[in-house]
């Protein structure tokens, strides 16, 4: 279990996260939502040790995260950041194989094993990138690159997936595909995922739990039904919203009501 207890992160005077607690249990998918600047990304980054909390602690299976070395953390916790820097040409397959780094026998020198390649090819198939595997990363479209970044994260076979706005560049069908893949890892491989997203309806559709943040504070945690209420969302986002029941999934459906709405 990956657990954050009472995390506070301060950048100088500014408090980015104030006393947040979070638990990622096997098989569960948690959505982290809130307006821009709510501290979502900061909280996500404390969970793999990239940012040290000013107060509070992060534990992996009950042991403090900082006591693990980076390679062990790399095998257990995988992060999908928004986009990779690509100043050197690498093929999609080479890029995705980067996810096997932490599994190499040595921390430095080493070559991918047959199994590493098999895992990478399987993930490429899952993310519908097989045909692009020999293409260079910088020849891909934004959405294809984003899928490759996810593929690399899945190739690590980590049991904790931390995704920072993974659907930002994706079209509708690939948004669903991506979160479906993550959901699938949770259901079938006992993985757990934390997804930072601005898409409340995708969060409602895929997540077991929702953590709602504003200005570093945790406003509410719980099942989507209990968090996605019109009053609460209106308070946090400062926008009138309509919450009703999704006709297919039965979960909550959020529709923003714009001030300058065009009525017909």
């Amino acid at each position: 279990m990956l657990e954050a207890q009472n995390i506070t992160v301060k950048y100088g005077e500014r408090t980015a996260v104030a006393g947040a607690s979070l638990k990622l249990s096997p098989g569960e998918m948690t959505a982290l939502i809130g307006p821009n600047g709510a501290g979502k990304s900061t909280l996500l980054q404390t969970l793999n040790g990239r940012i040290q909390p000013t107060v509070g602690s992060v534990t992996l299976d009950g042991q403090l995260l900082e006591t693990f070395d980076r390679r062990t953390i790399g095998r257990r916790i995988s992060v999908v950041a928004q986009e990779a820097e690509l100043r050197f040409p690498v093929t999609v397959l080479e890029f995705v194989l980067g996810g096997r780094f932490a599994w190499a026998a040595s921390g430095a020198w080493g070559w991918e094993t047959k199994r590493d390649v098999e895992i990478a090819l399987e993930v490429l198939n899952e993310t519908e990138l097989t045909e692009l595997s020999g293409r260079l990363m910088n020849e891909l479209s934004g959405g294809e690159r984003q899928r490759a970044v996810l593929a690399r994260a899945l190739t690590t076979e980590a049991s904790y997936l931390l995704l920072d706005e993974p659907t930002a560049n994706l079209d509708l069908s690939h948004q669903t595909m991506l979160l479906g893949l993550v959901r699938n890892r949770c259901d079938n491989c006992n993985a757990s995922a934390l997804v930072v997203t601005h898409d409340l309806n995708l969060a409602a559709q895929f997540a077991d739990n929702v953590l709602l943040m504003k200005e570093g504070e945790t406003i509410r945690t719980g099942a989507p039904q209990s968090v996605f209420t019109a009053e609460l969302l209106q308070e946090v986002f400062g926008l009138r919203v309509l919450v009703d029941t999704h006709p297919v999934t039965g979960g909550p459906r959020v529709t923003p009501v714009h001030q300058t709405h065009r009525y017909h």
Partner: protein
Amino acid sequence: MNINSTRFDGIPAINGASRDRVTLRKTVISCIVLSCALLLTVVLMSLVGSERLPLRPALCALFSFGNAQCGLTTDQFDILFEIRLPRILLAAAVGGSLATAGAGYQALLRNPLAEPYLLGISNGAAVGTMMALVFFGANEWSRPLLAFAGALVATLAVYRLARGRAGATPERLILAGVIVTTFLSSVIVFVTTLMDATRIRSFTFWLLGDLSGSSKSLLPLAIAIAVSGTAVLTWNARSLNLLMLGERDAFDLGVEVSRVRITVFLVASLLVGSSVAASGSVGYVGLVVPHLARLSLGSDNRISIPAASLGGALFVIIADSAARTLIAPRELPVGALTALIGAPLFIYLLRRI
């Protein structure tokens, strides 16, 4: 050669012919081929020069490793073993060191334009060497030591200057390099004015990169540093592959980023320091050679770093042989020749931004 015209992240992405995944087998074969080419070049170039040596006896003496004179006169034998061969081996060490350091800086700084000479790191090493000449003139070992210190200080200065609020962009890094280079150049000018007139000419040559005044006593050290530096950077090549795609991602995937960064800074500074102490600032080797290695073999550092090292040795041996034979018996500084080849390549890469 096929340079992708897609604009991406402000930096030209060079698409090599090879898109196959790099394997250990491919790496070993490439390194064997390059090593054979290097050996052949060493033999060929030791036969070329202003003094003509008879072919057969010279080859015989070379392959006996200097144990048999094979009918060469004592003068010819001395030219071969006391002058030409040490100079060629030093050229190999300098080229290998600079190309490896360039490949290391490029991967670590995620910048295809990074190069020891352009970033002012060679100048840092040059200032160190001059300090050693001025203050510890008699002690030969003080030169590589202070050159290393100078290179390290310049590396850290460029690295700090290049990190803006938005992180280190490629353009900012080059600008930081320009600032460090010009600052250190003026330090060099100050120290030069303190020298007497006869030393200034040889010193100016040395600054441009010159192997003619090389001392034999530093040769074993230069070779040892070139070989071990290449080995250490190759050993870290898989981490560098991930670092090339972003420090944050590399950290997330399990790379000990700060350890690798310190290793590369130290090793690259050592490589630049030892080659500058031996031959001055030979420019653009660290730019031209790693680019050729990546173009032909792909950008996986596990192959491109050792290939750049061997290729750098080849490149500087050939450039230096040209420098000492083109207008024989007079000589050109080898740095002038490498810059003649490197500067147009740099402009070409820059135009793609």
